[in-house]
Point group: C2
Chain length 482, copies 2
């Protein structure tokens, strides 16, 4: 046994102890196995002298380490390393595990989905997000500062998880004006993103194993939400009139919920025909099912209005409507909304608090000021013209592909487009040969299908760079065909 | 059949059509069933004349309604209401459902949990959140503005879902300095709240049906997270040395994950003894289980440091550490973090994007400036002194209860405290008789137990109001005993 008069930590230079934190140094030494269990410590007086620090400080540290169970002290017996410390470091004979345990199968599946991860640097053609160069940044900062001033300390507190009343009112007015929808502000719930709204709704409406239709190809974020909720996903094919409602009814006539993007199908851009809208509503009424309508870029129909939302045709309060402001404004805004039957509002708000709490009040108030003072509709008008010009330029630049039996969409809407070819092998060869950042339509599919396409996201790209991208694509396609 | 020359909408005053939006008015009339299927419309020329608007506008509206499938037009035949419109309004013979379908059983259970909903107005004793009156608001606004300037357009974009590097670095330095923990910035992931981190971790590490221990009484947000993840919750009793690890091992020896608040058990305030820490780590190593350590108010130990985190004793990378900044700063900050083995970082980030996307960059950068420039440690020091003074005042004011065999905690930490009594009926009678906003300890329990307590949250209360609250509590208790 070492002499209790020896230096407490002979391997540690006194300078380190003096400079740093004696408690942390000693604790680290204990955890690293520098002491033998039962080893006696010098007295606090001795340690204080050795290291040139006050005895009071040493006493404090010894007390803390004793409280934690690392040391044992007895009146008149001195201070010892506790015997239990032996168990802290793995015995040398045992094999030390190098790796922690594995994640769950479900966790690996959901994290592999990676449906909602956007690229940090927008290049052709990965950029389906808002063009932020056109955003009225100065105006926004002024409104944020005003919102912070007006809210004062209220802005720092826990905020109503349903959302700020002023924003819920502004959203209700906005959807009335731009989408012809009638709802009360009390039916609006604010979320960080459409994806979060979809998660909360899936948790609220679905029990594990319940069937949920989704479009195929479709929005993979819905797959994630249903995966988290433990629902059984029923992929329903999509054609140029949107979801094949008849096939859904045949494959899964008793589904509990339908997730659908009727105005501008994601990712193909198709619009759901009125026949199918009626058939879907009619089936859902007979079957007592929910419909979740994701109007993910309802702001960006370029010729006249987008189609009437299902929400407006529903006479039965079974359609829940989701919209986002992160596309119309900018990605890091983190504001979206759901419009739901009133009796679901409190339930959803409670689920929201158990996901991540609430959305900060200042951003919500700044957004409601931006809407109520007319800046939002001005901004939308400008962005609509800009995205339309981008889309037109892109379709024009892609026209040589159409001559080679590629199909280009015609509906003038959105911040991305899909170009397709019956020969799936050709599409995949083109994607592989190209140096562009391209996504395959098939990566949005749940089931396999013949043919394939390229999902070109252009929202955030300059016209010149999307033209250069399209030219590169056309050139690679010509090279491949040879 | 009505004459094609008649007014299109005889029931609607022309003024309404002129003033408003012809498209929306006509569409609403169609949806309300104002027209018979097959009914012929007047020509666009006629309608333009009737309503005194341009023929071009009428043509546009008719085209949109035709595109949507509400109207049918034939060259030389005129414009008719489509026959499918008959199906839009429920037939009169059928009973119209008044209510939409029901939420799921799981959804109702989780929304009923309401574990994370904080009161909007802090009164005695519902106020376990930060005291925002003491927050250096002006300084924070300056840092936010500086962060917005420095980030420029980058601040509006999609942000790295792992978090901003500068904040991850600042957090790694902070936990090293204040909690004696060693981690790389690359192991830190930023979330909106500890609850969100817990949700992401549960989804990643647990498969449906996997057993997860949690403390009983414990943090009900963990119950929500495990409920969403579909795990089987194993409630493990708590005594004055924290979780009864031995009971956990007996009830559920093969659990996949343990959720624990070892430094300051929530809500009882107990600290997990070193014996139990060693036993827990040892069991988890043999059983290859994960440990999730929630250090939910690790900043607020008032006498010296809080106990060493399990994270620091773990030699095996099986402890995931969760901390929040929303308590040390202010509730609407929405910043928390998890410190995890490096190989889980990307997986958790992908799951995060599928929950709600990411945390905005500006707030993250402002927080990292607040930390790196020393404002955070100054603020923590002030708040620690303040909460300690509040706690001391509260315990002093509650001392008459101790004389009546109520138990008051001794560990000087936190923003709430639990006072207990062996007679659960007495506790519940007191809560019922009192006009204060009181929470029962039993409401944090999963299983029943004898005795009960009051969970008094005082963080955001003025000393005078918590003294008044305590006096009222003492008076009510005296009245009840009579």
């Amino acid at each position: 046994m070492r002499s209790p008069k020896g230096m407490l930590l002979p391997r540690i230079r006194a300078a380190r102890v003096r400079r740093g934190n004696l408690y942390q140094t000693l604790r680290a030494a204990v955890l690293e196995g520098a002491f033998r269990p039962g080893q006696r410590f010098p007295s606090s007086r001795q340690a204080a002298a050795d290291y040139g620090i006050s005895r009071g400080l040493v006493e404090e540290v010894f007390t803390q380490l004793t409280d934690e169970g690392f040391l044992e002290r007895g009146v008149g017996r001195g201070t010892f390393i506790a015997s239990r410390v032996a168990q802290l470091t793995p015995a040398k004979g045992k094999k030390k595990r190098k790796r922690s345990p594995s994640p769950s199968r479900r966790g690996l599946a959901i994290s592999a989905n990676a449906a909602c991860r956007e690229p940090e640097i927008p290049v052709a053609f990965n950029a389906g997000t808002a063009d932020i160069k056109e955003f009225p940044w100065e105006r926004w900062r002024l409104l944020e500062a005003r919102a912070a001033r007006e809210l004062g300390h209220e802005g720092l507190r826990f905020t109503d998880p349903r959302g700020l009343w002023s924003l819920r009112t502004a959203v209700a007015r906005y959807v009335a004006q731009f989408r012809g929808m009638h709802c009360e502000p009390g039916q609006v719930i604010v979320f960080n993103s459409a994806q979060q709204a979809l998660n909360a709704i899936s948790i609220l409406l679905l029990d594990r194993g319940d069937a949920a239709w989704m479009e195929d190809p479709g929005y993979l974020g819905a797959r994630a939400a249903f995966g988290i909720a433990g629902a059984r996903i029923v992929p329903v094919p999509v054609d140029d009139q949107g979801m094949r409602v008849d096939m859904g009814m045949r494959c899964s006539p008793r589904a509990r919920l339908v997730y659908i993007t009727p105005s501008h199908q994601y990712p193909t851009g198709a619009a759901l025909s009125l026949e199918r809208r009626i058939a879907l509503l009619d089936w859902s009424r007979r079957n007592d099912s929910w419909i979740v309508e994701d109007d993910y870029d309802g702001e960006f129909g370029y010729d006249g209005q987008l189609l009437t939302p299902l929400y407006s045709i529903d006479t039965d309060s079974r359609v829940l409507y989701i919209g986002t402001l992160n596309k119309a404004m900018f990605a890091s805004l983190r504001l979206a909304y759901a419009i739901v039957p009133e009796r679901l509002v409190e339930l959803l708000a409670n689920i929201r608090t158990q996901l991540d709490g609430f959305t900060p009040a200042v951003t919500q108030m700044a957004m409601s000021l931006f809407m109520e003072e007319g800046f939002f509709s001005v901004h939308l008008r400008r962005m609509r013209a800009l995205y339309k010009a981008k889309r037109t330029a892109l379709i024009e630049a892609l026209s040589p592909l159409v001559a080679c039996r590629w199909q280009c969409p015609t509906r003038p809407a959105g911040m991305h487009l899909v170009v397709r070819h019956q020969d799936g092998g050709l599409v995949r060869a083109l994607a592989e040969a190209s140096s562009l950042d391209l996504a395959l339509l098939s990566s949005y599919r749940i089931t396999r299908a013949s043919g394939d396409g390229l999902f070109l996201r252009y929202g955030a790209l300059e016209i010149s760079s999307l033209q250069a991208g399209a030219a590169s694509l056309v050139a690679t396609a010509a090279r491949i065909r040879r």
